[in-house]
């Protein structure tokens, strides 16, 4: 079953198109890496996929329903851009943040034993139980990433959407982080990941989508390495840049 189906989607900011006629499907259990030059519409496409934006034309379905229908709250775990670097002075603890994963299912009322177990298991799964009472704002970038993953796990999410999660994270933590993503993927989690480091994506993802406004490639990493999609996508960006001068 396709978790996400994007059909001929177009999206523009004012009169500047950023996603133009993109169609692709993400199957359950897939690990899709979204690559492309800066400003190529990767973040916008990811936001369209999980219903944070409505397409100007075309359609996006998520778990078989329109993505923007806001009924997928507990099925999608979203790790926004820059969480690793964002300075958050809010005195919230790791456990409090991970508990939020249960909120879509329980906006009011006491947490049940199931809720509490889900939170503790999520902390355990990403190995941050020992950080549970620390402030999120005082953690390192890599630790903070794990808090957001744990929040998605606590929600029992089936889909993890990550937007350049390891920017500003040291190399060692990055490696461990991608190993964790692979483990979760093996356990059945569908993952869509935006990553600027193409080497990392081709190593860890099971499918690649190469984007620069239009979709230049969609297929497995091995084929991606053999095609000129990357050069085409990035070459385009360069010529656009030169036109602007």
């Amino acid at each position: 079953m396709a978790v996400i189906e994007v059909r001929d989607v177009r999206f523009a900011y004012a009169d500047r198109p950023v996603v133009d006629g993109v169609s692709l499907a993400v199957e359950a259990g897939e690990f899709l890496g979204l690559v492309g030059p800066n400003g190529s519409g990767k973040t916008t496409l990811l936001e369209l996929m999980i219903g944070l934006r409505q397409p100007d034309s075309g359609s996006v379905s998520l778990f078989g329903a329109p993505a923007a229908s806001a009924t997928h709250g507990d099925r999608v775990g979203y790790v926004p851009q820059d969480v690793a670097n964002a300075k958050n002075e809010m005195p919230i603890t790791v456990r409090e943040a991970v508990r939020m994963g249960r909120y879509p299912q329980k906006l009011v009322g006491r947490f049940s034993e199931t809720d509490r177990t889900a939170v503790e298991e999520a902390l355990e799964r990403v190995e941050i139980t020992d950080l549970a009472d620390r402030r999120v704002g005082r953690l390192s970038g890599g630790q903070r990433q794990r808090v957001f993953i744990a929040r998605a796990l606590a929600a029992d999410a089936d889909l993890l959407a990550l937007d350049e999660p390891t920017v500003g994270v040291d190399a060692e933590s990055r490696g461990a982080f991608y190993d964790l993503l692979n483990e979760l993927n093996e356990d059945g989690m569908t993952i869509v990941l935006i990553e600027h480091d193409i080497g990392v994506v081709t190593t860890h993802a099971s499918k690649i989508a190469c984007l620069n406004r239009e979709l230049f490639f969609h297929g497995d990493p091995e084929t991606f390495a053999e095609t000129d999609a990357l050069g085409d996508a990035y070459g385009d960006a360069q010529s656009i840049l030169q036109h602007n001068h």
Binding site: I50, G51, L52, A70, T71, H72, G73, D74, V76, Y78, P80, V83, N88, E89, M90, P91, I92, T93, E96, A97, M100, Y103, P104, K106, L107, V108, D133, R134, R135, V136, R138, L139, S140, Q143, F148, R151, A155, A161
Partner: protein, 338 residues
């Protein structure tokens, strides 16, 4: 909010029942409690009915200010309180104007509430439209409503200018029985709303995009937060005054940011607020100085003391060479792992 207005409308039509209710709460419960306290402690002031109402107001303000302010401060929306306070001033002026011109009696606090709530929704719409908490939008609403207020004040023969002073700078004497009753109801509304909407509000405060992805209606809760801010501002305005009321949304919260855990920091902020308002009201009475100003000064002193204390404790633990162990760096939940 519609519910709130209907509640008020129906409440006003059943005046006698309201009077009885106010009597039970203010006299039978709060009055007797404070009288007993006055007897036990031997402090006469606690027995004076107007001071009893002032202390009641102090408790309410200390509770609801930090409760709502915690969400504002951590979203860097602190200035919205000041903006809504100035629109509440326009509301007070409108109420006094209507009373002076049309020979009716509308409590100015009610008109302030309506105008401030409308301004809250206006600010939120501007924010949604411009996409950020632009200083410019806030400044326009702030100065615009103050301008409306000042025009209304001078549009009559000057009779209401006297009344307006009390609202500008706040005063213990403005806490009449009616105002005390309104304050109690407003505090109850704020308390119930925040406890019901606590989870979506904390989610949005921590991670707005994530909250949207989780299917939480961010716009609706932002509007709720703005309107709640308006309610707090109007409630606290009587003692604090328009110009200083925003302090109760910000200063106690700032004093408690070193507490680890959001829930605990809210509790800490309420404690800081309670100390400030009760001390402020007491000092204000004894030395006959402005209550609002005294409360803000005490709150800032608490903030300064906590900040210095946390720094000193941190420095001490570093000097002892124990900074690397988590338990000793705990005062601010901090660590040196970055």
């Amino acid at each position: 909010m519609v519910l709130l207005y209907t509640l008020f409308a129906s409440a006003l039509s059943t005046q006698t029942a309201v009077d009885r209710g106010v009597e039970v709460v203010l006299d039978d419960f709060w009055g007797s409690l404070m009288d007993a306290l006055a007897d036990v402690t031997g402090i006469d002031v606690l027995g004076f009915p107007f001071m009893q109402r002032a202390y009641l107001a102090a408790l309410c303000i200390a509770l609801i200010g930090p409760l709502v302010g915690s969400f504002l401060v951590h979203r860097e929306m602190a200035m919205i309180g000041d903006t809504l306070a100035h629109s509440a001033f326009a509301g007070v002026a409108a109420g006094l104007f209507v009373n002076a011109t049309f020979a009716v009696t509308v409590p100015p606090l009610l008109t302030a509430l309506v105008v401030a709530a409308a301004a809250a929704l206006l600010v939120q719409t501007l924010v949604d439209y411009t996409g950020a908490y632009h200083d410019t939008s806030l400044a326009i609403v702030l100065t615009g409503s103050f301008a409306v207020g000042s025009v209304l004040v001078t549009a009559t023969d000057g009779g209401i200018a006297v009344g307006i002073n009390a609202y500008l700078f706040g005063s213990l004497a403005t806490v009449t029985r009616v105002n005390a009753a309104i304050l109690l109801v407003l505090s109850l509304v704020v308390g119930v709303c925040v406890s019901v909407a606590y989870r979506p509000l904390i989610y949005i405060t921590f991670d707005e995009v994530g909250a949207r992805a989780a299917g939480i209606s961010v716009t609706r809760y932002n509007q709720l937060l703005a309107v709640l801010t308006a309610v707090v501002v109007v409630a606290a305005m009587q003692i604090m005054g328009v110009i200083l009321v925003a302090a109760m949304l910000v200063v106690p919260v700032a004093a408690a940011t070193s507490v680890r855990g959001f829930k605990r920091s809210v509790a800490g902020a309420v404690c800081a607020g309670l100390f400030s308002t009760v001390t402020g009201v007491t000092v204000s009475y004894h030395y006959d100085v402005a209550a609002g100003g005294t409360i803000v000064l005490v709150a800032i002193a608490v903030y300064a003391a906590v900040t210095v204390g946390v720094r000193a404790r941190h420095r001490l633990s570093v000097r002892r060479g124990t900074a690397t162990t988590r338990t000793t760096t705990a005062p601010d939940g901090g660590s040196s792992d970055e």
